[in-house]
Amino acid sequence: MTRQMTGAKMVIQALKDQGVDTVFGYPGGAVLPIYDEIFKQNDIRHILVRHEQGATHAAEGYARSTGKPGVVLVTSGPGATNAVTGMTDALMDSIPMIVLTGQVPTFMIGNDAFQEADTVGITRPCTKHNWLVKDTDMLADTIHQAFHVATNGRPGPVLIDIPKDVQFATGTYVPPKEARVSHYAPQTEGDADMILAAVEAIEEAERPIFYTGGGVINSGPEASAVLRRFVGESGFPITSTLMGLGAYPASGEAWLGMLGMHGTYEANWAMHDCDLMLCIGARFDDRITGRTDAFSPGSVKVHVDIDPSSINKNIHVNIPIIGDVGAVLQAMYDLWVKRGRKTASEGVKAWWTQIESWKAVKSLNYTNSTETIKPQYALERLEALTKGRDRYVTTEVGQHQMWAAQFLGFEDPHRWMTSGGLGTMGYGLPASIGVQIAHPDALVINVAGEASWLMNMQEMGTAAQYRLPVKQFILNNERLGMVRQWQELLHGERYSQSWSEALPDFVKLAEAFGAKGILCSDPADLDDAIMEMLNHDGPVLFDCLVEKHENCFPMIPSGKAHNEMLLGDASTADAIDSGGAVLV
């Protein structure tokens, strides 16, 4: 193979050498040479989205469901700025993503040229790292480094800005093995002394809890496997953040459900009252901690995280272990086994008795209805009717997202794609497309709210074009439900601008896109309608008309502690004080 080639060809060659099979993108003037190379080959599949934001979320869905980085290709200026939300989303949720942007030719940079934007400047704070490549000889090297940075340590989005003249010029291609070695090499093995301290704490704890997060998913299937073994053999209870669902199976005996603002009663109380908290790949987000000075006051805290800046950021921990979840958990587990698998079993037994009493509160209970479909009921039926299938779920952002986390059970990692850190409405539809591309035969469902879904609804065209049988399951309450809930609790039921007015006829909309539309409003028809959706071999838009003013409980109001959670409408009067009202 000749090493001399154009920059545009180099891009394709480098992607191939990095094992990329799919690129999500949208063409424009500044990337035409690269699109020309895409045209001339068949190894890499290009998925034409309808908006660059869609490309980024599709790449996120692809990445989260495969563990491989997602790749995006967009043009300069508006192409790049449209990708900003998705990059920020990926940064917040630690999703590996490579974004390639076209740029005006080097000699025009800084002249306010047509479709020029300071892309590396704009995206500096929303990428893990970014590069402007001004020399074709540096291009391949930079792309290989970009993959290294995106996938090592705490994963995240990276961007490479490629001026058009660099794409046209000829340079020398460098394969991955010969690329400059980046000094970027985060620590993966945990400190032995700290691991010993953690194991000693495990042996002595009477009220332990595993609090796991997205880092377990990031670390890969081995991390989930050792976590399951550890939880099973120790008999400790486990809860997870929104981002970590599926690392431990929802059907597992030790599972307490999700924790946090909309987590279960038992998970939050156990976090509050535990004496040992094993935080594994989670980052003490404010949705988890509530009031930080009242957060789990009596516990020793172990924190395993690959990013030193996650340690002691929000919560002071006693035993910090910097490293990869998989490697550290394995080392902890091995040491614990070597020392005889000791636990304070009497204490742990009593702890479980306590936990059972919290479980008995049945905090996810809701009042069902025979007249209207309760959103929780719709999800319970969806769960029942899809159980055991090879199922992937994405969501939009809002109440429906929280209900999906509460009512759908995830048995395996990489099956749950949601925008947690940024909370990006419009994430779910394109993400479901990315997932379906990666898993053509799987059942892919986007649990959506009507308002979120409309934010990137143009991507229905992408689903239709590539015949992607994604199921868009819209819990349509004709409200910006989560906003409305906060207005009810915090702003005296003044529902300012939280209505979804002038909604489209979703069935007709589906048909206009060449997809199937289903409308369901009667609980009695729900099962049949869901089966119709599941049995249809093609994209489906399911308009599920649900109760309009249902609230999502449990809820820990902003600024409150875990043991001050609200369970249902009766307890909500004056729930949030003025101090809490300033928080989001």
């Binding site: 790292h129 002595e204 020793v300 002691n312 950021k313």
Partner: protein, 186 residues
Amino acid sequence: MNALSLKKGASRKSAYDLKNPLDDRQETHTLAILVDNESGVLARVIGLFSGRGYNIDSLTVAETDHSGHRSRITVVTTGTPAVIEQIKAQLGRMVPVHDVHDLTVEGASVERELALVKVQGTGDKRVEALRISDVFRASVVDSTLESFVFQLTGAPEKIDAFIDLMRPLGLIDVARTGVAAISRGT
């Protein structure tokens, strides 16, 4: 379980070395940050400070190793102990950052700054300015019949003191480099 029983496994990096997060004393630290000398690296570091609301009291930057493409950024910052720890961790995880040294805690260090100070005046004031500059071992690098430009190097406090003394004597302009710092010994 008693938290103190953890001592057995505790090491030099033990939890007991961690600073109390509720400690809200403000501390000033001098950080030496060794970075790849690539385009945008300064913007990245400054963006981290502004984006996360950290203070920059002083900042200097220059290439220190041309063949290795390395630059050294010296930042003087103020914050609670927990914030200082966050700043170091946030800097340390940036891709072009090779090393972060907290010179304030890593043993003795030398901190120097250079200032150019322009003073305008005639008669007694002019004489007094010249006399004080002598005491501070400043040198005169420019002079007209009614002005001097003094050049002064030293610790930031020395420069502060000099500027304070020059103020009533006709100080009209100051240019300071910001702090350069390095650890003592090897």
